[in-house]
Symmetry: C2
Subunit: 370 residues, 2 copies
């Protein structure tokens, strides 16, 4: 992955090309063995992936651009894995890239024509309501919620590619600018430029090319938001639960087998909703677990060791791919100061589109096993 942050002198194509060539170098392969590509992005315009291929000298390959809002990068990996499983290709690259600072202004809304968004139900507004409701239902304190950005920004100080490198305190969170009460600036993921890429191979190609460094993609599942799975709860995500259930079944594991995870902490409260939706902590218990250090690197179940969206940054299309980059590096034992000892099973979760409601959401869960 590229350095995440603000890159005023670059564009998404350029960042995507750097990530793609980085993945090739990391895999130790000749780029010419790549047979096809998928590119996840949201705001980068037509045929952006094809421009990346042209820039790295791989024009000509089959490439599909995929968009699933904040799950776009993760979806690119899923489609790459399906192309491999179909027997169509043996070596496929999935790249996700976004130059968000140049393409996007203000609070994200899932649908610009949404009348509720126009009057304030933007992403920060909706997650603020969910935070308030969670505090009401489960007694989470504002200070407990602040411990999530504190943890993730601490983790980010150990990640040279993260957007932020300064640790913060609970007081820093509480004193930062109000965004949508009770959420403050440090509760919100930043506007980030960046890209990431992974090489997906068939078993036979991995034997041939991976030099024993491949990590198994045991599951890559995708679901959309539904009136059935998401009735009215602001504090629990059936969509996350069901997408995870699909992944656990495919991977032949349960939540108790997960050693660490990267989850979609677009806001502090989002991390709570996701780890509980994934079944990694019982509902209502995650804030206390964070307070006890259980989600820290070195804790019982490290959450967002990369820094997550809050600390590492959130270039929409790049995010889901960067999560898998973190999983791969952790599972290979290549994560330096933030290494989770003995990690064998990693899980990545993304959720894009509408935060609450019946339509327009996309959720992905990926399980990687050493």
């Amino acid at each position: 992955m590229t350095r995440f942050g603000k890159h005023p002198d670059r564009d998404a194509t350029d960042l995507g090309a750097e990530a793609l060539l980085g993945a090739v170098a990391d895999a130790g392969i000749d780029a010419r063995v790549i047979e096809a590509a998928y590119c996840g992005h949201v705001f980068q315009g037509m045929v952006m992936g094809q421009r990346i291929l042209a820039q790295v000298g791989l024009a000509g390959l089959p490439l599909s651009n995929v968009e699933n809002a904040c799950s776009s990068g993760a979806t690119a990996i899923r489609e790459a894995s399906l192309a491999v499983r179909a027997g169509e290709h043996d070596v496929v690259v999935a790249v996700g890239a976004e130059h968000l600072t140049s393409q996007f202004r203000g609070a994200l809304t899932p649908d610009p024509s949404d009348p509720e968004a126009a009057v304030g139900a933007t992403m920060p507004g909706v997650y603020a309501m969910r935070a308030r409701r969670y505090m009401e239902e489960f007694g989470m304190t504002r200070e407990q919620l602040a411990l999530i950005p504190v943890k993730n920004k601490m983790n980010a100080t150990l990640n040279p590619l993260a957007h932020f490198h300064s640790s913060i305190t609970v007081e820093d969170v509480l004193e930062s600018r109000a965004i949508a009460d009770p959420l403050r600036l440090h509760d919100c993921s930043p506007v980030t430029d960046g890209a990431a890429a992974v090489i997906v191979m068939s078993d036979s190609a991995a034997k041939k090319y991976a030099n024993g460094r491949a990590v198994r993609l045991a599951a890559s599942t995708l679901r959309s938001g539904s009136v059935d799975v998401e009735p009215t709860s602001m504090t629990f995500e059936p969509l996350t639960r069901d997408t995870a259930q699909d992944a656990y079944e495919k991977a032949g594991i349960g939540p108790e087998d997960v050693d660490f995870c990267e989850v979609h902490d677009c806001f502090s409260i989002a991390e709570v909703l996701r780890v509980e939706g994934l079944g990694l902590f019982p509902q209502g218990e995650y804030p206390g677990a964070v307070e006890r250090g259980e989600a820290n690197i070195g804790g019982r179940l490290p959450v967002n060791p990369s820094g997550g969206l809050l600390g590492k940054g959130h270039p929409l299309g790049g995010t889901g791919v960067a999560q898998v980059v973190e999983l791969v590096r952790q599972l290979r034992g290549e994560s330096g100061d933030r290494q989770i000892e003995g990690a064998r099973v990693g899980l990545a979760h993304c959720r894009g589109g509408k935060a609450v409601g019946i339509e327009g959401a996309a959720c992905t869960v990926q399980v990687l096993i050493r």
Copy 2:
């Protein structure tokens, strides 16, 4: 497919939902057997496919939005076929939809930041240069070129779902408003709203659900533009040739086996470049063949019996799917007044993104066999 045309009172979600439900009705299946979906579109914003699913009561399914410029709909079909071949799903819907009249103004450019496009190398400008060059190299007359919109708009009068229903003459073409010399208004595909959907099934699902009405998707291939395959020729498309070659190999046929085709006639000259790139006519010979009626319905090799982009219209994401709808209906013998007798092998071709150049193009070829 929906009626193609201007739908000021509707949106892409609504059109996509109509097409999806139409495909379900045509297939005679219960919509609940659909396991996953792909949605091709260009300008419709985040998670549009998920909104379609919600509208038809199928929210919850895995869905990926795919974008490959004018090849977006065709790419959705390719990805659906890969998901089936991977064994991940047995019944997948591919939908393409675009409400172009509300999302888009003026001459299309493949990349708004392209400095050449900013000074006039828009799509009409580039195709005008290609037409001029083709006339120079192969002696095509302006009147011969006009016979292509005359043919396609005549075919469209036989297609109740087409954007245009008025036949035109060579004089009408030559007297229509100048767009980019030598191209005039009738040489250009219109700004169209519309959607189309197809159901892609595994062999076992087709046995169970298709009541003998399934048509075999014998190949669905995709390539990107490349410096290697597209050096400097304005009058021949190596990208189209190579994507077709992949398809012929997969389908086990040659161009001589194709009974009819739908090709990407975004401009009159584009039809010439495509059928020659596909190997269906030798280079330089298509304009004469059109003059002799060989590409008419009832001719040796009917081209764009649906009316093509010029007559049926061109809602970007909807186009590639609608081509396959036409192939299926022709191969089933359900095309009424425009039926091609005895058709057994149909081919569909899309090309999106840059018309000439090394980057940012996507080409698809699909072969369907009765």
